[in-house]
């Protein structure tokens, strides 16, 4: 092979290295233009690899690191038409006169100079700071920037806003909402948002687990943050003879490729089936009573906290000895979830007699009404099986599969959660403004203050922080009137049109978006600033750098990448760091932000903190480094120490044990029907059992991630669009709405038909794809397609087909302000394209679409 960097390309290119959220890559450039992007590939000579050997079969991490599907299209991303190349100002936004907030999303933009842009922003910031104070300015980061240590939200963005002060418009851990608000009450782990890290899970599962259950989990396609060698690992487990079972409404990609069994279940009924599994175990003695006696609280009445009456335990609930008097038999569950009792029993018996790896974390089932019950129930099942025992663990779609990791070989601490550039600066600034707006209350706060809520933080460091009531405006703070979005979207808001409506509120006087692409919420901004892509700047990072947030969560050859500057910035685009440096200067903060540094000096200083045994210049030149495998490595799997010695290694719960009965929830809520102290199955308000609403909207909507798009990114990239868009007779690429042949036929629909999907929250157009991969009664409309409203009205039909227009923005329960996104009923019917086009000629011509800057 030789050094992969030394190959002689026929076109004589220069080869750079880069690291994206889709994986690390080589970037070949000629004459300032990208020729190709290739997955990064290490020379076997420079790699000292670990491997896993089980039963004569070996897994060795690959030398060529796989890219996620959109990563392979990054050349197109770099030069797409939607790139923002110059600062833009909405034509009829005049800070000295009419601001015309009602025209956001309607009028077009004009090019302005950077100097004009800075001047406008500084004037507006100074105005708001003088009249309302810093809390009158709200800032928000998009969840999905590229990996980096310097150019990353926790680094340059937070430093600036913490320095000048502002109201943090925060998003929640919405990838695993129900885990974040439920699981910490069961097993602690507030720092990890309820997701326990899973070190050495690759070895443990490979060696010890006999059964793997994917419960609402599709790691193959959704290992988004891990960027790992998922397919080969699952093939390895299959080759080792693991039994793999999928419990899902949708036969997902991991299931299609590797599972032995698909158990079809209706969305939101998982808790009923889980309860029936517990019932089977209890009545047949297929669980670990000894472990429960020493490691858990509240499984049975004998182990309830002091003063709690008998009949309050999980076992009492399951056996029907509690208040509801209903034994949670497989027959009872079957009526709810649609799975045959014999299949529930068969699964329970296998699970109860074999070391089982349960893949349940993240996934759609945790983003629903009462999802904290689902997560506590799933955790409780594994606790009944001796969580921490060899082969018994909890995993998720990402962040929870790990090979050997010794906590030394990493770029950190300047990583995801560690403050980036702040670590190497002289001064550090905590944000002086305590006020926050959770994105799920953005509409209410802006339009209808005061507001009060619970939950909704990006981070919760304790139960008290989670349960604290939030007020808006907070005492001593003002209402927000200036909104700054770092990235073009305020994450992925449910009930999107009602969210967009907020942008037209006169209560927002200034709305700034900084983004590389004119996508998503850009269309509603007053000022848009052009930001560089990952190919146009330098950084130091690790693939799946989010692994520094849950540090062990990377499987593969531990490596660091120098993100080299491959091409010059498009147009006049700048890095966020440059923008914030200039703004700080103009706002009168002098050098306080950048402290005399440049991108290069900051990277040098951050590099000094890594354990990479090269000089900075060597690393920068070479572009990557692969750490050797750890020496004298001792494994320690998830919950292993707790399993072995619960007294010596208590969990971060009040009792130190797994709290199947949460005294904390009991003290806070009593026996609340929406969040009882032991996990229950609670029927959703908008779900499979909502008979009345189902008469109007009979289909349950599934909102699994898009396969060829990164959430809402790259909806415009033709190389990806042609993989999934349904091209109508009008030539337009409609977002697919997948449905079972039974449901299609009942509506007179065939594959390729253009339809309207609707519920009380909105209407979107889509193209039908007929598939047997869905249980009848459930249709899959993904989220993140860019808005293309047919008229000026934000509530008009969205031709773009974003599932979030229909998604549920209700609270999960009294316990949590949001996170019920996926509890959605809707109906699908054939669209009359000719009539729509006649009614909305301008809309069909694209006048209001997201990516139209002209207006």
């Amino acid at each position: 092979m030789g050094d992969p960097r030394s190959f002689q390309d026929p076109s004589d290119v220069e080869r750079f290295t880069s690291c994206t959220t889709a994986g690390p890559m080589f970037v070949d450039v000629k004459d300032g233009k990208i020729v190709r992007v290739d997955p990064i590939s290490f020379d076997p000579e420079e790699v000292d690899s670990w491997q896993v050997d089980v039963n004569g079969k070996t897994y060795r991490p690959p030398l060529t690191l796989p890219l996620l599907p959109w990563g392979q299209a990054y050349k197109a991303m770099q030069s797409t038409e939607t790139r923002v190349k110059y600062p833009l100002k909405r034509r009829d936004w005049d800070p000295d006169g009419e601001r015309n907030p009602q025209n956001r999303g309607i009028t077009g933009y004009e090019r302005i100079s950077w100097d004009e842009a800075y001047e406008l922003i500084v004037r507006e910031m100074n105005r708001v700071r003088a009249t309302r104070g810093p809390s009158g300015i709200g800032y928000c980061d998009s969840a999905h920037t590229e990996w980096g240590s310097l150019h990353f939200v926790f680094s340059d963005v937070y430093r600036f806003w913490h320095m000048v002060g502002g109201t943090f418009i925060e998003f929640t851990p919405n990838s695993w909402e129900g885990w974040a608000c439920g699981a910490p009450f069961l097993w602690g782990d507030w720092q990890g948002h309820g997701l326990p890290a899973a070190p050495d899970s690759l070895q443990d599962i490979s060696r010890e687990s006999e059964l793997i259950i994917l419960w609402g989990n599709d790691p193959l396609m959704h290992s988004i943050y891990s960027g790992i060698d998922t397919a080969r690992i699952w093939q390895y487990w299959r080759d080792l003879g693991k039994k793999i079972v999928v419990v899902e409404p949708f036969l997902n990609e991991t299931g299609l490729n590797y599972a032995d069994k698909w158990i079809r279940i209706y969305p939101g009924t998982d808790g009923a089936m889980a309860a029936a599994i517990a019932y089977t175990w209890i009545t047949e003695g297929l669980y670990d009573q000894d472990y429960l006696d020493t490691h858990a609280v509240g499984f049975d009445d004998e182990h309830l906290p002091e003063g709690i009456p008998a009949g309050s335990s999980f076992k009492a609930y399951i056996l029907g000895e509690g208040e509801d008097g209903t034994p949670k038999t497989p027959e009872w569950a079957s009526e709810i979830c649609g799975v045959e009792p014999r299949v529930i029993r068969a699964l329970a018996r296998q699970w109860g007699t074999r070391p089982t790896s349960l893949w349940c974390m993240q996934g759609g089932a945790c983003r629903r009404e009462f999802a904290h019950e689902f997560t506590r129930m799933m955790g409780t099942l594994q606790i009944m099986q001796g969580l921490g025992k060899p082969g018994v663990g909890v995993q998720g779609t990402c962040l929870s599969i790990s090979g050997p990791y010794d906590a030394k070989n990493q770029v950190g601490p300047t990583g995801y959660a560690d403050g980036g550039m702040n670590v190497v600066m002289e001064r550090y600034y905590p944000n002086p403004i305590p006020q926050k707006i959770t994105f799920q209350k953005f509409y209410d706060c802006i339009n209808d203050a005061p507001q009060h809520w619970q939950g909704g933080h990006q981070d919760n460091f304790s139960a008290d922080m989670f349960l604290e009531q939030m007020d808006y405006p907070m005492a001593g703070c003002a209402e927000v009137e200036f909104v700054w979005l770092h990235g073009s979207t305020l994450t992925n808001p449910p009930n999107y049109q009602h969210h967009l409506e907020t942008y037209r509120s006169p209560n927002i006087t200034t709305f700034v978006v900084t983004a590389p692409w004119f996508d998503r919420d850009c269309r509603y901004a007053d000022i848009v600033l052009p930001i560089t892509t990952v190919f146009e700047r330098q950084d130091i990072t690790e693939p799946a750098s989010v692994g520094q947030y849950i540090p062990p969560s990377y499987v593969g050859l531990r490596n660091a990448i120098f993100t080299q500057k491959c091409v010059e910035p498009a147009g006049e685009s700048k890095t966020d760091l440059q923008v914030y440096t200039e703004l700080a200067e103009r706002l009168g903060y002098g050098e306080y932000y950048i402290e005399g540094n440049t991108e290069e000096t900051l990277l040098r200083k951050m590099y000094e903190r890594t354990s990479i045994p090269l000089t900075y210049d060597e690393f920068k030149e070479k572009g990557y480094y692969v750490w050797p495998q750890p020496k004298d490595y001792v494994e320690c799997k998830q919950f292993q120490r707790f399993y072995e010695d619960p007294e010596g290694n208590p969990l971060d719960t009040p009792s130190g044990k797994a709290e199947i009965f949460s005294k904390r929830l009991y003290d806070h809520y009593g026996n609340h029907p929406e969040i009882p102290p032991v996990p229950h199955f609670i029927p959703e308000r908008e779900g499979h059992l909502s008979a009345e609403l189902k008469e109007k909207y009979p289909l349950q909507m599934l909102m699994a991630h898009p396969k060829y798009r990164f959430h809402g990114k790259y909806n415009d990239i033709e190389w990806l669009r042609e993989n999934y868009k349904v091209f109508g007779p009008d030539g337009y690429g409609y977002e697919p709405c997948w449905m079972n042949p039974v449901d299609a036929e009942a509506r007179g629909l065939v594959d390729g038909d253009i339809v309207i999907c609707r519920n009380d929250r909105g209407r979107v157009m889509a193209g039908v794809r007929v598939t047997k991969r869905l249980i009848p009664g459930v249709a899959w409309l993904s989220y993140g397609a860019w808005q293309d409203p047919l008229s000026e009205d934000v509530h008009s039909i969205d031709r773009g087909g974003d599932g979030n227009v229909l998604a549920n923005n209700a609270p999960m329960s009294v316990h949590h302000v949001g996170g019920a996104f996926n509890s959605v009923l809707f109906e699908v019917e054939k669209a009359d394209l000719d009539a729509l086009e006649a009614a909305y000629p301008e809309g069909f011509a694209g006048k209001y679409r997201t990516w139209n800057r002209e207006g």
Binding site: F7, Q8, D9, P10, S11, V35, R36, V37, D38, P39, S41, T64, P66, L67, L68, P69, Q72, A73, K75, A76, L220, M221, D229, T230, A231, R232, Q235, K243, L251, E253, L256, N257, D260, K261, W262, I263, R264, E340, P341, R342, V343, R345, A346, L347, R349, Q350, Y708, E718, W719, L720, E722, N723, T771, K772, R773
Partner: protein
């Protein structure tokens, strides 16, 4: 001669192969081996077909690419030497000479050749000949995260007796001598479950024997702990399927249509009288 070895069963439809192909060939001019690839062309394309029914559904996938046929119809259809075979076996269309020659595209029975309207030429996979010449692998191969695609020496696979899966060709009946090697191409399967007469319990350990009613070929399986069985890769046709378990009355289902994948659903078995 180098050729692709494609393990169809390993394809996860990530389409990294297809996108890498576009990355390599769109906007890049590798003439005289290839002019820039036109839009909506898929020099490698994943064909997805759902098989089975109910909760026994599978996705059968075939990466489709130029087969570099031994008796390539495109070569025969080309005039003025517009299509030729290199010494390494790769069939190339000359972007200059192939202008206007739609017959080259029409000749391909695999649908692996595309028409570039703007350039007025047929286009297809070159096996990344320009990279092969530089000692590199085709882009689809290095982009594949499952090892479903590999570049191999055809001679090494002349005898597949020792391989875990036999070597197949894609639609050899077309008679063009396709040279791309495949493994694990889709075939029908017969799947189902066995349960007690009242449907209350699954029945593990039941022996399932499917006999092809014309060829007499026999496939066997034993139901697992879900009472499930699956007979994979069966010869298409009609089957008699027998179920036998300890203490159970033998049951046979005849004339079961497995010309395509078949989910026989739940088969109820009763105790011996």
């Amino acid at each position: 001669m180098k050729t692709l070895l494609i393990n169809a069963g390993k394809c996860i439809d990530c389409r990294n192969c297809q996108t890498a192909c576009k990355d390599e060939f769109c906007d890049n001019d590798w003439s005289p081996l290839a002019a820039p690839q036109g839009p909506r062309q898929y020099w490698i394309r994943i064909v997805n077909e759902e098989a089975g029914d109910g909760d026994r559904v599978r996705m059968q996938r075939v990466p489709l690419v130029c087969q570099q046929c031994a008796d390539a119809p495109c070569l025969a259809a080309a005039a003025d030497g517009a299509a030729y075979r290199r010494a390494d076996g790769v069939v190339i269309f000359d972007p200059e000479k192939a202008q206007g020659q739609r017959a080259i595209m029409d000749a391909c029975p695999y649908g692996a050749v595309y028409w570039n309207e703007a350039r007025n030429i047929p286009q297809k996979c070159t096996l990344c000949a320009h990279l092969l010449d530089a000692g590199r692998q085709p882009r689809c191969v290095t982009a594949c995260p499952t090892d479903a695609l590999r570049l191999v020496d055809a001679a090494d696979y002349a005898d597949d007796a020792l391989l875990p899966q036999p070597i197949e060709r894609l639609r050899p009946e077309l008679g063009t001598g396709p040279r791309v090697l495949y493994q694990d191409l889709p075939r029908p399967f017969i799947a189902g479950e066995t349960c007690t007469g009242d449907g209350a319990a699954v029945l593990p350990g039941v022996k399932v024997t499917a006999t092809h009613q014309v060829l007499g070929r026999v496939y066997e399986a034993v139901t697992d702990e879900f009472g499930d069985f699956s007979l994979d890769g069966v010869e298409p046709g009609y089957y008699a399927i027998a179920f036998e378990g300890a203490g159970l009355t033998r049951k046979t289902l005849s004339n079961m249509d497995a010309r395509e994948a078949l989910n026989v659903g739940s088969v109820r078995l009763y105790p011996l009288a």
